[in-house]
Amino acid sequence: MARVQLDHITKRYEDVTAVDDVSMEIEDGEFVTFVGPSGCGKSTTMETVAGLTKPTDGKVYIGDREVTRLAPKDRGVAMVFQNIALFPHMDVFENISFGLRLRKYDDEEVRHRVEQAADIVQLEGMLDRMPDEMSGGQRQRVAIARAIVRNPDVFLMDEPLANLDAKLRVHMRTELQRLHRELETTIIYVTHDQAEAMTMSNRIAVLNEGTLQQLAPPLECYNEPANLFVAGFIGSPSMNFVEGELTATGFESDNVDVAFEPELVPSVTSGDTLTLGIRPEDVHLVATADGVTEPTAELHATADVLEPMGDEVFVYLLLSEEADRSMEQEPATAPNQLLMSVTPDTDIHEGKEVAVVLDRSKIHLFETATGDALRHDLTEHSDGGAGPAATEADT
């Protein structure tokens, strides 16, 4: 087991900077997920830990050892990839033990380790099967067992569940959590799937365009996103964003006004452009907003489109008369649209005129120019909820 430290890692190719000055410390035994859209640099960052890529600048430490220039096999890491790379000519036992025999362990030690690893991933009794006789999920367990027998200091997993079907993926998620609990080994996990990131990790590292946006526990990224990118990326469906202006009385935009004391956001001044963020579940119908202790003033809207999901219903609200249904804009960011989620028993239908309020304690304010979060709570007596401190990556 070991902690992992990335110290100002930059990876430049001829024409692109894939990773741009990323620093982080991952604690011994921690499960950290690198998440972000395609091309954000998450895989390249992990490859610098694995040794598959040498950074252009910066250093990588595993434990107390600098490993920046070491070969992958000398780093004490074990990798599990998206494409399940089992050797088709070897049975499960031989696949799991690959590399062990080379390391001069005697046959008994090899058998002991393989059986133990097979036990952990629940593959008992399957050691003499060939890969083509197994399901995708079983093959991925073999790949994980192959990593386990190495007894690595750090597990590196790059989208290991991406090729599995949806049901199996959910099952393997809990398997990996159990594995982490049993082995207590440091795990770095790369995914573009924010549900995987949210459910499994101690902390998630959100990356975009090669830079680290936020490194924090999942719920902190959800409740106190450091900037507009994290706010929009974490959470499904995405947070609503409304662009407006700071005035002497609060936030004003074409369709949404929220009154508050401008001192709540001391780093910006009247006239600055702000973006207000509110998650769909924090938009409430006035009729059912009893639980909201500090609601905003009422907003009047029309229910445009309903999406019943079973356990909840997504309601696309139109805030203004002159409906701007431009298909070129993401629904959640169209200036006159607001996405609300309600329970299935709610009395609502397409075309219905409704009054809604926002939960002030769940309103996020961002400086539009920089994207940085200014505040995550607009209740009058709040202590800030976050404020500029929320933008600090190291918690």
Binding site: Y13, P72, A85, F87, H89, G99
Partner: protein, 327 residues
């Protein structure tokens, strides 16, 4: 070692050495092996060798498909074995002289490589494993294309590949009336021929560098093995089989002029040079000196990229669309 008894017997008699039916028996007695099996079997023999700590010179292509190639490359990285892939054309004296000129800056920034490996009628052993997709993984593109793609990328110093567009055609191999003058191997007719016999592709790399690729076992065109390397200061032209390097430049000194400098190079046996480089590198690593200095023998990761490009050309051909290389 050979699974075919007759081949074993012939080899043993010709070189007066012990021969083996089972590769594991051979692996108990050697430090290094050269694997020249059909493409599909590369993985089994190479991976088993890595596991015994045996160094491998693997005949190109790395494997019959990208997945197998990727497993071989990963296994090589996980062990201490050296894995060199048989891109023997890099070792041609002509290519090494050209590489030296490129490195010295004489050609400026290299922008484009025209890579041609075109036979007019030269399908190898129709009916043999070469012409069966299941064993070879493809036809002319995987057989000749890997040489052309590797050499082009090698001369461009292995840039990042961003996009591939191509087509693989199968026009002649399955014809009953296939006209040829000579054939490498025996002709068992068109039966079982299910691979491409020509391919054209355009490969886009970082910073606007590009490769145009033409490969064929058979096509209606005179054969062509010409490589043209275009740079910002000069171009170079050579024939992959004949050698013969020419540098084409232009200058205004005195009076504007075009200059074509012909360079005569001693022809060498590239396979011998390649094997020598393989053994030299093993000896250097064994003696503790860093063996990674020879850029001609740095090849497993590069061979994986070549395989990725070949695979992308096949996918592009199937999809009739450009294939992007993403993160």
């Amino acid at each position: 070692m050979d699974v075919a008894a007759e081949a074993r017997r012939r080899f043993g008699r010709r070189y007066n050495v012990d021969v083996y039916e089972d590769h594991q028996e051979l692996y108990e007695t050697v430090d290094a092996v050269i694997i020249t099996t059909p493409n599909k079997y590369h993985e089994e023999y190479a991976v088993d060798a890595f596991e015994q700590g045996i160094h491998v010179l693997l005949e190109k292509p790395l494997a019959h498909d990208y997945e197998s190639a990727s497993r071989i490359a990963t296994a090589a990285q996980e062990t201490d074995s050296l894995c060199m892939v048989g891109f023997n054309n890099r070792f041609a004296n002509t290519v090494q002289v050209l590489k030296d000129r490129i490195d010295s800056g004489e050609l400026g920034d290299i922008t484009h490589v025209e890579a041609n490996y075109v036979r007019r009628r030269g399908i190898p052993g129709r009916g043999s494993w070469f012409t069966r997709r299941q064993i070879a993984g493809g036809g002319a593109l995987i057989d000749l294309g890997v040489h052309a793609v590797d050499l082009a990328l090698y001369l461009l110093e292995y840039p990042r590949v961003t996009e591939v567009s191509g087509i693989a055609r199968s026009e002649f191999g399955s014809r009953e009336e296939y006209a040829y003058l000579e054939m490498w191997g025996e002709d068992a007719g068109p039966r079982g021929f299910d691979v491409d016999d020509s391919a054209s592709a355009f490969v886009r790399c970082a910073e606007g560098r590009t490769i145009s690729l033409e490969v064929a076992w058979a096509t209606n065109r005179p054969s062509n093995h010409e490589f043209v390397v275009r740079g910002s200061e000069a171009a170079a032209q050579f024939d992959l089989l004949e050698g013969g390097l020419t540098i084409h430049s232009a200058s205004t000194g005195g009076s504007p002029h075009l200059e074509n400098t012909s360079i005569d190079v001693r022809q060498n046996d590239t396979h011998t040079a390649e094997q020598r480089a393989f053994f030299d590198r093993i000896l250097r690593e064994a003696s503790g000196t860093d063996g990674s200095g020879d850029d001609r023998s740095e090849s497993v990761e590069q061979a994986l990229l070549v395989q990725d490009v070949i695979d992308a050309i096949y996918r592009s051909s199937d999809a009739e669309a450009t294939v992007s290389f993403g993160e």
